[in-house]
């Protein structure tokens, strides 16, 4: 089966093309050795099936960042038979930079020229046959969001691959003959980009040297040497003409780095001057108008806060009150029926207890919060897809900078709202180590999806009238704590200049519903997966502990579980949660946060369909519920996050440090909330 790799700048519709080509056929896999997700899928054309791999988006190839390195290594190993290079037609100058590098690598390339509609609106007229000629590869105009041009793209991919099988050596000329297109390029402008030598002295000798040394693709390796890579031969074998270059590089490995980049841009400029005409100036007026408001120097931050508040209000109004309660009723009535039915079976009472209390009541309760999660991620995905989240990072930057963080940290924090595992991984985009460590350490304070059931449950019972506001307040508290701790770290452990702020603001686009839904589905599916795997194990253990030693009354203080909880409970008394059940809930949240909701439901209200709300109402006061929520918000993240921190830092110290300090912060804040509240005469 032929294998196609997708490559291109971030945010130019790569994933849209991937999804359009593969349909529902995609799966999520892991890069060997690295925990960055890559997508892989299949499509069929004329009874031939093709596999397609989505490489991480990057502006260039090389080894500058982790993502770049992954894509580069993948392309160089030759695993892919063809690279589908997605290019933004509105910004050819920059997008073709990556294309130049692909051409240097001498891999077969097909270019999908995306966003042709936007380019037209900007008044850009692109002579596509001429562009094909100059680059020596097929260029297919597409509008991926509308599915336009995709059939043509698929046909070209198939054709290029079959031609390649026929005649591997004479590919570009072959293709041109077939398409019957005439072009009149200068003689030096064949399929491989030929660069001018005025900035890179003796480039052609360097290419020859690489070829002789067995380094192929030779142009790519030659360019790498100018950018500081090792010289391929010992000094005595270096040709005379290259000795000077070698000496310069030995003194300063970065001496030609920018010249190499410049050389590529010069070639791009030459190409574009022959095939792109700008009919009138850019007219992205809508984006400019919206930006004038949402990035305003005073309104920017209030608008962001208001947007998030609306998100949480809507989440509760739609997800909890409208859909959640309906689902809750279904689960309760199912639990009651199932409980009655199970009681009639000859199963052991302990097993029946596990099924009704643990699985149905415990995990069932967790699952009733799915609508909440669905709505929240739909809304966050919507904001991201239209391009607002980049603006949020922008408006927060000057604020974040004052406290020793950069606006980009906010992006990893927003990712943390979904799950702290990708949140921690996304700190990779921070190039400065200190920035990155701080961003990683504070990420767990960003409330993840697995904690939502606890909020939904306790807020729904104790603060139903202000549910959206309360949730917003919790998220905001997590944010404030993160900021304060970050400030502290930047003054103590991770001192130093923070890196420069460089961020692209994508143009606003109508959201692509499919993408938003797919993203949400990913989050919800992983939530369900955890609920049915790791949470089931946790619940089984908690259940066993609560009915043992044999003969003890289940869920009583005399059970092993009760004894463990009673041992921890006094510690929690200062935060108003001195009962053993609450303590057990927190312990059960260590492996995964859904464990808290499942465990509380099981031990407070054993028995299918029993009234969890009444039980919680007697066990907590509004104030102790609040301090418990604060604790859940802030305390030690789940095992998955800790192990991610370990793989990212390769340091047991920082992993343990994170586990311990977050516990102390959570506990401290919960005690503070409870004690202040009590001093005011609440609770």
């Amino acid at each position: 089966m032929n294998r196609i790799a997708l490559s291109g700048n971030p945010n130019i519709g790569k994933t849209t093309i991937f999804n359009a080509l593969t349909g529902a056929n995609q799966k999520v896999g892991n890069w060997p050795g690295v925990t960055v997700h890559r997508k892989e899928g299949n499509f069929t054309y004329r009874n031939q099936s093709y596999s397609i791999v989505d490489l991480p988006g990057s502006y260039s190839l090389g080894s500058y960042s982790e993502d770049e390195k992954i894509a580069t290594d993948y392309i160089l190993t030759g695993d892919a038979d063809l690279i589908l290079n997605v290019v933004d037609a509105t910004n050819l100058e920059r997008n073709l930079y990556l294309t130049m590098q692909l051409l240097e690598m001498e891999v077969p390339v097909v270019i999908a020229l995306n966003m042709m509609d936007e380019a037209e609106r900007y008044g850009l007229s692109i002579d596509i046959p001429q562009l094909e000629c100059l680059l020596g590869v097929p260029v297919i105009p597409v509008i991926a969001s509308k599915g336009k041009g995709l059939p043509d793209l698929v046909r070209t991919l198939a054709e290029t691959l079959s031609l390649q099988d026929d005649d591997a050596t004479d590919r570009p000329r072959c293709r041109q003959r077939r398409r019957g297109r005439m072009c009149t390029p200068a003689t030096d402008e064949n399929s491989v980009p030929i660069y001018e030598e005025d900035r890179l002295p003796h480039l052609s000798q360097m290419v020859v040297l690489c070829e002789q040394a067995g380094l192929t693709p030779s142009l790519w390796h030659a360019m790498e040497i100018y950018q500081g890579a090792m010289f391929p031969v010992p000094l005595e074998e270096t040709p005379e003409s290259l000795l000077e270059v070698r000496r310069t590089l030995a003194e300063d490995p970065t001496a030609y780095e920018l010249a190499a980049i410049d050389t590529r841009y010069m070639r791009i400029h030459r190409v574009l001057s022959k095939c792109v005409i700008e009919l009138h100036g850019r007219t992205a007026q809508l984006t400019d108008k919206i930006d004038a408001v949402v990035t305003h120097r005073y309104w920017g931050i209030p608008i962001f806060a208001l947007t998030m508040l609306v998100v949480f209000q809507l989440t509760f109004a739609l997800g909890q009150n409208l859909l959640g309660n309906t689902l809750d009723n279904w689960v309760s009535s199912f639990a009651a029926t199932a409980g009655d039915a199970l009681a009639l079976t000859p199963l052991h009472p302990l097993l029946i207890g596990f099924l009704t209390d643990g699985l149905i009541a415990g995990i069932g309760t967790v699952l009733t919060f799915i609508p909440l999660i669905v709505i929240l991620y739909l809304l966050l995905g919507f904001l991201e897809d239209i391009g607002y989240m980049a603006r949020a990072a922008y408006v927060m930057d000057s604020f974040m900078r004052r406290i020793g963080l950069q606006g980009k940290t906010l992006i990893s924090m927003i990712v943390g709202f979904g799950c702290n595992v990708p949140g921690v991984m996304s700190t990779r985009t921070l190039e400065n180590r200190n920035d990155r460590m701080i961003a990683m350490m504070i990420n767990p304070f960003m409330s993840c999806g697995a904690k939502i059931p606890v909020y939904g449950m306790l807020i729904g019972i104790f603060f139903p009238k202000v549910a959206g506001l309360m949730t917003f307040a919790l998220y905001a508290l997590g944010f404030v704590v993160a900021i304060v701790i970050a400030k502290l770290f930047s003054k103590t452990m991770f001192r130093g200049d923070s890196a420069d702020f460089i961020l692209e603001l994508p143009p606003y686009r109508a959201p692509i519903l499919k993408n938003v839904v797919r993203n949400m589905a990913d989050n919800v599916l992983s939530f369900i997966k955890r609920a049915t795997t790791i949470i089931t194990v946790v619940i089984a253990m908690i259940y066993l502990l609560s009915v043992l030693p044999y003969g003890v009354e289940p869920y009583s203080a005399g059970s092993y579980l009760g004894r463990i909880g009673s041992f921890v409970a006094p510690l929690l008394a200062p935060m108003g949660n001195g009962n053993w059940q609450a303590a057990v809930g927190l312990v059960a949240g260590m492996p995964a946060k859904e464990g808290i909701t499942a465990t509380l439901s099981m031990i407070y209200a054993p028995g299918a369909g029993a009234g969890i709300q009444e039980a919680l109402r007697t066990a907590f006061t509004p104030l102790s519920a609040l301090s418990y929520l604060v604790m859940v918000l802030l305390y030690t993240p789940c095992v998955a996050v800790l192990s991610t921190v370990y793989t990212e830092t390769k340091s047991a110290f920082w992993t343990i440090f994170m586990a311990v300090y977050t516990m102390l912060v959570g506990y401290g804040m919960a005690v503070l909330v409870f004690q202040i509240g009590r001093a005011w005469g609440l609770g």
Binding site: T90, E278, R297, D397, D500, I502, P506
Partner: protein
């Protein structure tokens, strides 16, 4: 030559020099901010500046803009 941050919104400049660390410069080069590129200032009040280059919108921190030098251009529209 004037520092980038002295351009007023709406003004166009041509990048002439960047006194930056090579890693930072590389990042900017890849985003299309290379010497010779024409940039249009979009926002320059508080916080990072926003500019247009090759139909893309890029936000840059202020300290960075003090070390990027441009010459002011008459607006011509071309790339």
């Amino acid at each position: 030559m004037i520092p980038l941050f002295t351009l007023q919104p709406g003004e166009v400049g041509r990048i002439e020099r960047m006194d930056l660390a090579s890693g930072t410069k590389k990042r900017l080069f890849e985003l299309g901010l290379h010497t010779g590129a024409r940039v249009t200032m979009k926002k320059n009040d508080r916080g990072p500046i926003i500019l247009h280059v090759h139909h893309a919108t890029i936000a840059l921190g202020r300290p960075l803009c003090q070390r990027i030098y441009v010459t002011r251009q008459e607006y011509g529209g071309a790339v």
